[in-house]
Symmetry: C2
Subunit: 259 residues, 2 copies
């Protein structure tokens, strides 16, 4: 299995604190030693840092922890390979362009008997993971359904994707994070939780390493920052645990209705 | 204008030496202060490092210079903005997937009256540069022409792209680098040159900063490494200058016939 981490915020925010906890799970407090990646959106642009070596040993991961990149949406993943060998092309997050936006995706879980289901042409996987193929199939279905221009109401698109995720969950475990740089969607198969931090901010203590942060010193009273993860990253805050089949959608840190 | 740099090699090779020279042009020996980016292919996978700040000041550029990533194909660019504001989404190289491969592209030059020419649907620009729109149009034309699967003979595809580049050159200056991770194509509008290094290797001296390298100590006798750049990066070697409208294609460092 793997670990997922994502953020949605109403102001450019760095994710150094949460990533520091996650990176420990890549070889120190967790067995996820088969690569890691993180995508930062800055406006419509995005950049992804990836490494096929463990995050706890990666020089690039050290840079991310020492050089705070401020972003409104972040998607991150550390990998323990099940399907697909350890290689850069199999390292999440995966990104494709649709409607002039970069869509970024990461998956935790394992799927079976998916080859016949995930028939793709416009979006084809580069690596050989079930995860990337499922992502390509999702975007292929979205492009088929909505055409060459994004609809006015993007929540309709994410509801459609949630329906696709329900289908994919029939093939195995499918905890998923997806963003177009504006919205952040998470779908829960068995392990996913989130926390929304806003004023009054307090202190938080990482579970995986001996770090405490006082968010009150790092934020302004108007900041709203949501963090999504496979398992809680801190041990003194209340994380919302999602139910199997539940999905959530955030924009600028705020939870949106999904019904 | 901007500076381009690319590499094609028959063994995974680091580009630290050449990138060190190029990065100087981003604010020290050249005026290209509006961002930079570099894409490394490792097998079918690729990763891109980008920054909207000058390469001579970038912490990420420092990492690239101190942490040799070995790659068979590299595409790099430092930017002096003309069309499109200074922002991450306007920073080259640009990447899109076609036929289960990541295609990476960088452009030096400026185009005019291109909006009517570059009509796109499947591949849409995220930023607002002429460069990215031309790239999207190229891939759109390739997908239209060859369909959903790569043809057996990829050189046919690059000849077709050279024809598109001839059309684009009618709209302005179009020095271009393009790779699918296996082939490296370069198209010259007015500034492009290359050098192929092979045994017996010698010493090379960078023009832009006081660095000398002895390739004989860094290579094996079978290595073939081609570097493409807008202007020569060393002052004691013979670089081949391309003519306007000329294009070249490399695979594993070796020049392929284009006729």
């Amino acid at each position: 299995m793997c670990e997922l981490l994502a953020m949605s915020a109403n102001v450019p925010t760095d994710i150094v604190f949460s990533f520091t906890g996650l990176a420990q799970r890549g070889g120190i407090t967790g067995p996820h030693v088969d690569g890691w990646g993180i995508t930062f959106y800055e406006g419509k642009g995005s950049r992804t840092f990836k490494d096929a070596c463990p995050s706890s040993e990666s020089q690039i991961a050290k840079l991310i922890q020492s050089y705070p990149i401020k972003s409104e949406v972040v998607v991150s993943h550390i990998r323990q390979a099940n399907r697909g060998c350890v290689a850069l092309e199999n390292t999440h997050p995966f990104t494709r362009e649709l409607w002039g936006r970069y869509w970024t995706y990461a998956h935790n879980g394992q799927l079976s008997d998916y080859q016949d289901k995930f028939v793709v042409a416009r979006y084809q996987p580069v690596g050989d993971t079930d995860s990337e193929r499922a992502f390509c199939w999702i975007l292929e279905c979205v492009a088929d359904k909505f055409g060459d221009r994004a609809p006015e109401d993007m929540q309709v698109v994410f509801r459609f994707i949630a329906g696709l995720a329900d289908e994919i969950r029939q093939l195995g475990v499918f905890n998923m994070i997806l963003s177009d740089g504006e919205y952040l969607m998470s779908y829960c198969s068995n392990n996913l939780c989130y926390i929304t931090r806003r004023a009054p901010f307090g202190k938080a203590t990482l579970i995986d390493t001996d770090v405490v942060i006082d968010f009150d010193k790092e934020t302004t009273p108007l900041d709203v920052v949501t963090v999504v993860a496979t398992r809680p990253l801190t041990n003194n805050e209340h994380w919302h645990l999602l139910q199997p089949g539940e999905w959530i959608l955030f924009k600028q840190g705020e939870l949106l209705p999904t019904a």
